[in-house]
């Protein structure tokens, strides 16, 4: 490209503008209108490149392109890595029927048993309870912040919620361990407080701020003209929210909830600390349980690289990966379906 530019300037500079514009006094050269060194006419420079701008444009484009595809590349690489470590084992050596139906997780026995049902049930029950707690809180907070609060209250609340979302999960786990645990023991008169209930509450409180932020964004994206239109027809505040704002923000709200579910499935540290980490099919909120993620986190360090135990933990990873994938896909399908129905 530098060739091109140099060529253009060198060939162009000596060129005289053809013909003189009529009406100009003869003898006076048609110099540049704003002073400075004489330049070629605008229309003779159509093929010039403005060097620095052109180079920066290329650099910016390349960087953005790299940034864009790197996300895809990384996700693919992670999946390939997990699949390489666990997929072959899962498909050939592991008894998948047993894996999904037996609650016996005894990977270090002489004849190891790889039944993941208790772990799956642990994750599912904790996430389910967390969502029962988080969804009403998060939607309520989002509606309050987005539709009712004004001025300073609103700004303060938003900052606080974001702060809450940034709390490290080990802090939440600590709260579960040292505050919720004795509280549950005392309140419900149970022998142990590190239970599905504890982990569910902690996870619910963790997921709520993120869900609130996304749900509030969804509410904010509803054009104000809708609210104005409804208000001008005599709708009350609640009627506006219930009949206009929530239905039009529906997709964003569903996305917020599903993100919370994703967070619940993937959360490790807080769940590990608050759930009791006991391999157990939970039958009530007061049972201890163990989550898939917590199992991987606590056991992977103790396994020999390439051993059966190591590989089965990667199989758990694949399973987690697939579940999150299905949740996202489901969300996508739901949203699209909603779109079609409404149109």
């Amino acid at each position: 490209m530098s060739d091109n530019t140099v060529d253009n300037t060198s060939s162009g500079t000596p060129a005289q503008p053809p013909g003189k514009p009529p009406g100009k006094p003869p003898g006076k050269p048609p110099g540049p209108p704003y002073g400075g060194t004489p330049k070629r006419r605008r229309e003779d420079r159509l093929e010039d490149r403005i060097d620095a701008a052109w180079i920066w444009d290329r650099i910016a484009r390349a960087t953005i392109f790299l940034g864009g595809i790197s996300a895809i590349v990384f996700v693919l690489a992670i999946f390939l890595f997990i699949a390489r470590e666990g997929l072959g084992f899962a498909l050939s050596e592991l008894d998948l029927g047993y894996f999904f139906t037996s609650p016996n997780w005894r990977p270090t026995n002489e004849t190891p048993q790889f039944g993941a049902l208790a772990l799956i049930a642990g994750t599912a029950s904790i996430t389910g309870l967390a969502m029962l707690i988080a969804v009403p809180f998060a939607l309520g907070a989002a509606i309050y912040i987005g539709e009712f609060a004004t001025g300073k209250t609103r700004e303060t609340l938003k900052v606080l919620v974001e702060l809450l979302a940034a709390t490290p999960s080990v802090v939440w786990g600590f709260i579960g361990l040292s505050i919720m645990n004795p509280l549950i023991i005392e309140m419900f008169d149970v022998p142990i407080g590190l239970t599905v209930l504890n982990a569910g509450i902690i996870l619910g409180l963790m997921a709520a701020p993120i869900m609130t932020t996304i749900a509030e964004d969804a509410l904010k994206a509803v054009p104000d003209s809708y609210r104005e239109a409804a208000e001008a027809m005599g709708a009350t505040r609640w009627q506006i929210i219930r009949q206009v704002v929530i239905p039009s923000a529906k997709h964003g709200l569903v996305a917020a909830i599903l993100l919370g579910v994703g967070r619940g499935f993937g959360e490790t540290m807080a769940v590990l600390m608050a759930s009791g980490h006991a391999i157990n099919m939970p039958t009530s909120p007061f049972d201890s349980a163990r989550a898939l993620t917590a199992t991987i986190a606590s056991e992977l360090g103790e396994t020999a690289n390439g051993s059966e135990h190591y590989r089965v933990l990667f199989t758990l990873g694949i399973f987690l990966f697939l579940v999150t994938f299905v949740i996202n896909l489901l969300a996508d399908v739901l949203v699209r379906k909603g779109d079609k129905k409404r149109s």
């Binding site: 809708y226 001008a232 027809m233 005599g234």
Partner: protein
């Protein structure tokens, strides 16, 4: 009810019943005063247009009548605004009722993101406190759509989303959805400014058909529109009413120099 009949009687005694009457109406946005001692009388059953250059307070005046400008939160009003003889600034006035009595059409068509049918039934359902029977609602929808001459175009796709209609159809729908709750007054804030000339004419024709049954107050930037589609004109400048007269009179023999200048396009 009593005050309604007496005021109507009084108004009829003086010749013309008033749909909207303001006296000494002052309005502030925060510390900025937008309206100064505005006195207007909008005659029942006529189309009255509010004209004036940008920022003269015509939209403010319009939006203070159904008090939708109070959404902003920093609006203060003094004086009186009577709609069909009731002072709407009275503290006992229920805003939801006022807004059904004085329906509003906005500059950009703003149908709700619901079906055509649900849009038409929105105010109706709010008013009766829930859904009506299927046949009642069907009747309401058909009547409202026929009133705005939209029935033939949309009768086969009532469940389609209203936001997918053409702008002209959307704006007609926005007028139609006010009618089931039987407003006495329609307030229109430049209802044609987002429409092309064809659609503008269609909506103007519609206004002309609706007058009589409804009293219409319309804000417009478009002099030609004020001239061809209104019975009376109110010219405002800098938050004050300069002149109020029959449209024909105002355009042919304006009483004030400012009016004449504005109408001839010397400013604004």
């Amino acid at each position: 009810m009593v005050s309604d009949t007496t005021s109507t009687a009084a108004a009829t005694a003086t010749g013309k019943a008033k749909a909207i009457q303001t006296r000494k109406l002052n309005l502030w946005y925060g510390s900025f005063q937008a309206l100064f001692d505005v006195d207007i009388d909008v005659v029942q059953g006529k189309v009255t247009s509010l004209i004036g250059p940008s920022g003269c307070g015509k939209s403010t005046l319009l939006r203070s009548i159904n008090r939708i400008n109070e959404r902003l939160g920093y609006v203060r009003t003094t004086g009186t605004i009577e709609v069909m003889g009731h002072n709407v600034l009275d503290p006992s006035v229920e805003l939801t009722q006022l807004r059904r009595a004085a329906g509003m059409v906005f500059q950009r068509p703003n149908p709700l993101p619901l079906s055509i049918r649900d849009n038409l039934l929105f105010a109706y359902r709010l008013d009766r406190g829930g859904k009506g029977s299927r046949s009642d609602e069907d009747e309401v929808v058909e009547k409202a759509l026929k009133e705005v001459l939209l029935w033939d175009q949309v009768k086969d796709r009532l469940l389609q989303k209203a936001t997918e209609l053409s702008l002209e159809e959307q704006q007609k729908l926005c007028i139609a959805r006010l009618l089931p709750v039987k407003p006495s007054v329609l307030l229109m804030d430049e209802p044609c400014s987002a429409l092309d000339p064809e659609a503008t004419r269609a909506v103007e024709d519609l206004l002309w058909q609706l007058r009589g049954e409804y009293s219409i107050l319309i804000v417009t930037h478009n002099m030609a529109q004020a001239r061809r589609a209104s019975d009376e004109c109110i010219f405002m400048l800098m938050g004050k009413v300069v002149e109020h007269s029959a449209t024909v009179e105002m355009f042919v023999t304006p009483k004030h120099q400012e009016t004449a200048d504005y109408l001839e396009g010397r400013f604004g």
